[in-house]
Subunit: 354 residues, 3 copies
């Protein structure tokens, strides 16, 4: 963490994809970033979600990153920018830096097989196990408690946090980061029913994680029965995401915590899934799809759609149904009255006829 | 485990917040506690859930803890008490004791940084990694495979079961217990969308767990982007609970397994959540709230409420809607008949007019 | 992996419960198995799901295992068999073999208590901790990072993948396999509410896993408060399955990922649960029950049923309700029109009377 001036920050942001304008005092000193509610003197904050607009008028932050047309309180210096959420990310990186990993070199208390080939500048902690014929690229950071099985191939600049397990034959691309306890390549749920028992089908395929994927803690990516289970480049998972065997996730997907995809699901690119979504097996999901939290997907979803609910419906239809369900107890009550009234009318009419 | 007399147990319970009365033979010998169904001679059991009342009349237990006004079978000695569930807890503690941890002292096969300050009477197993500038209080029990990152601060009487991971900068209070594989302080799901890719926002905040919190196995508590993610004092989690970055849980909450809270959720005190509940981000939940299992929370919930369903509704309204949904197929069938009948009536009436 | 002829494979399959007939060239050479879509020369595939029938006519596989009456493309050699899914499993085993574990013997970097009794031919990796009075049968394979608590009893031919944790007093039967990070025997969610706080009830029972059980990664099986939590013989779990304290699962069950059973649930034999199912506590489920993914079980389910939805309904009734809910917005609109029309009719009739 260092002290920067607002001008220095403004220049850094401009150089990193965030053109901006200072509206106020350019020479302010910044020592950190914080939320609008918790920021104090010397700290920069941001407003990206209109839900928090009130806090803009009460904040003690020294500078706030806001949208170009945002109304601001008198006397507050702001940095105007099209993408405040992206800009604060870059600002945090500039002021706070990124995590500094412990430096172990190749700790002698790890077990690294002779046939393992490990690239330059490896940083491997104690109590790590690396099995035979593993290939690891350059600049690897591997925290204590990790296990890397035989024949695993790992790219450059990979970070494995504590107790990550990568089963035999798995592949990780460049710049992959896996948080603590995540497991890659365990056996998929492969059993055939034979005379009332479950006979194990050896899971002879593998798990493959492509470049720039980052996963949270305690995720589980099953290896395939045959072929591969794949996570496409640039995809990000939160904690406890599970992929079944043979499932293929496209590029730049984003899954919130506790999402579960069964086996043999094919997902396109730029798909977002909210927390606790479930997707049944052997389905196909297109590109640019948004699936709301807790949704249950039971049928294919085409590209460019937004789905919600269990079973999943198109967004509008789902909320129309929920609105209808809220009214339903009332409607049923009125319906019953109507049944009686109709009987009445029928009676009167028959009297007429008679 | 020891042999106690019912009198000794009765006195122990009275001294520990459970006034009680022996109704039967006071000098009975007890060697253990068990369920009504599985108890045998010398064992004490309890009845706290009316669902099991029948088992009271069939049990082979020597003594049963019951409510003051409970009807009992002839010849069975009971211990009458206002809170049988609380009393059996204390009885188990008295007779069975609590878990005896292995005694390692400071196992030389652990990696403890020189700058780490560890209090008296520490009990740290092999294959533990403690990084620089960590501060741990007295009477710590740390099982094999745990990792404690730089700058972590831990209170007194803390128990970390095997393979628990506490990331850099996290804080644990006094008497915190974390079961196996739980992860505290991993990076939150912080990414900004920039030109179709997900740009990482360094998670510069921390995770803080307050006094007397206990968590089950494989929980995941994300650190905050800025500021902190917090678990309030006395709160208890079952297994696989996930908290997103910046979420703050109040005091004495109880979450059953697989609950997931997204980021920036504010929860009050004395809140109970059933299994697999999901709470969307940036919401506020009051005090004394009960949220039924599998509920999906999409809007703020005020204090003293009971909610259920997805999307969440007040308890009564939810069940009213379910009852209505059960009738709906029938109602729709009758509605269609009614449409035809109305057409009929309309026809007759027009003939009249004509 | 070896090269086999189709004749050799056919004989192997016949000997292992899969009578079959070669329909085409018997002397073809096979080097591997793969999916219809990805198979190439020398590879055998299978068709078990009609969804993929089209792929049968486009595959480059050398041989395909199909049902006896399946229509096939001209020139393709097939192996006809009643159970293609079971047969490909056996074929994979024959051609690809099963996972070869690393061979450690008894690695000196593990901590094995003197009082632990370990059977012949044990294969125990580095960084494993085995506590006092543990009994392990023959041919155990225990990967690095595992922890086995005091008094645990384990059968023969057990495989524990990396970082598995088995708490004190737990029991594992013969041929049990637990994938990475799974936790057996942690404390159940046992707390009694006392004056607004949660008082811990020592979990004095145990967890017991019977013969031939296999679990995926990151499962959590709580020990019981009193008595036992049990997983019946031959049962298979995918990843992240949670069982609450005192729950008893029968034989030959199959649970997909992220299933959660609360405490004191009794489940019969041959029960299948889809992903993310939740079962409330103190319930009873019979034999031969199928519970669809994401179902919420709130009441007992008798044997031989198929349930779905939240709350759970019988399969047919659930889909009838969903169909009704889809129509509901329309029905409500028509109902409102009908209310107006009825008013109209009422008006006309009164004019008549008047």
């Amino acid at each position: 963490m260092k002290t920067v001036t607002l001008t220095e920050l403004s220049e850094y942001l401009a150089q990193h994809g965030f053109p901006n304008q200072i509206d106020g005092k350019a020479d302010l000193q910044l020592i950190g970033a914080n939320t609008l509610q918790e920021a104090g003197e010397g700290e920069i904050s941001f407003l990206a979600n209109i839900k928090y607009r009130d806090q803009l008028f009460e904040t003690a932050a020294t500078v706030v990153i806001v949208a170009p047309d945002e109304t601001i309180p008198e006397g507050l210096t702001v940095l105007r920018c099209e993408n405040p959420y992206g800009a604060i990310a870059a600002a945090i990186r500039f002021i706070h830096g990124v995590r500094q990993h412990p430096q172990w070199g190749l700790d002698p208390r790890s077990e690294i097989a002779e046939s393992a080939q490990i690239g330059k500048n490896a940083n491997i902690g104690p109590f790590v196990t690396i099995d035979v014929n593993v290939k690891i690229g350059e600049n690897a950071t591997i925290y204590p408690g990790c296990f890397i099985g035989s024949g695993v191939v790992i790219g450059d600049d990979v970070t494995l946090y504590p107790n990550v397990v990568v089963y035999d034959g798995s592949r990780l691309g460049n710049r992959v980061a896996l948080h603590a306890g995540t497991v890659i390549g365990q056996d998929g749920l492969g059993y055939a029913p034979v005379e009332g028992r479950w006979m194990k089908i050896p899971q002879a395929g593998r798990a493959q994680v492509e470049d720039d994927v980052e996963m949270g803690a305690l995720c589980a990516i099953d290896r395939a029965t045959l072929g591969e289970t794949r996570v496409g480049m640039g995809t990000k998972f939160s904690d406890q995401v599970v992929l079944g065997h043979g499932t293929k996730v496209g590029k730049h997907n984003m899954y919130v915590a506790q999402v579960g995809l069964a086996g043999s699901v094919d997902v396109g690119d730029h798909v977002t899934m909210g927390g606790q979504v479930g997707v049944a097996g052997h389905l196909s999901i297109g590109d640019n799809v948004t699936i709301g939290a807790k949704t249950g997907v039971w049928a294919d979803i085409p590209s460019n759609e937004r789905y919600f609910g269990n079973p999943a419906f198109k967004w509008k239809q789902y909320w129309r149904q929920i609105a209808a369900i809220k009214e339903l107890p009332d409607i049923i009550r009125k319906f019953r009255k109507m049944e009686k009234e109709l009987e009445n009318l029928r009676g009167k009419l028959e009297k007429h006829d008679g």
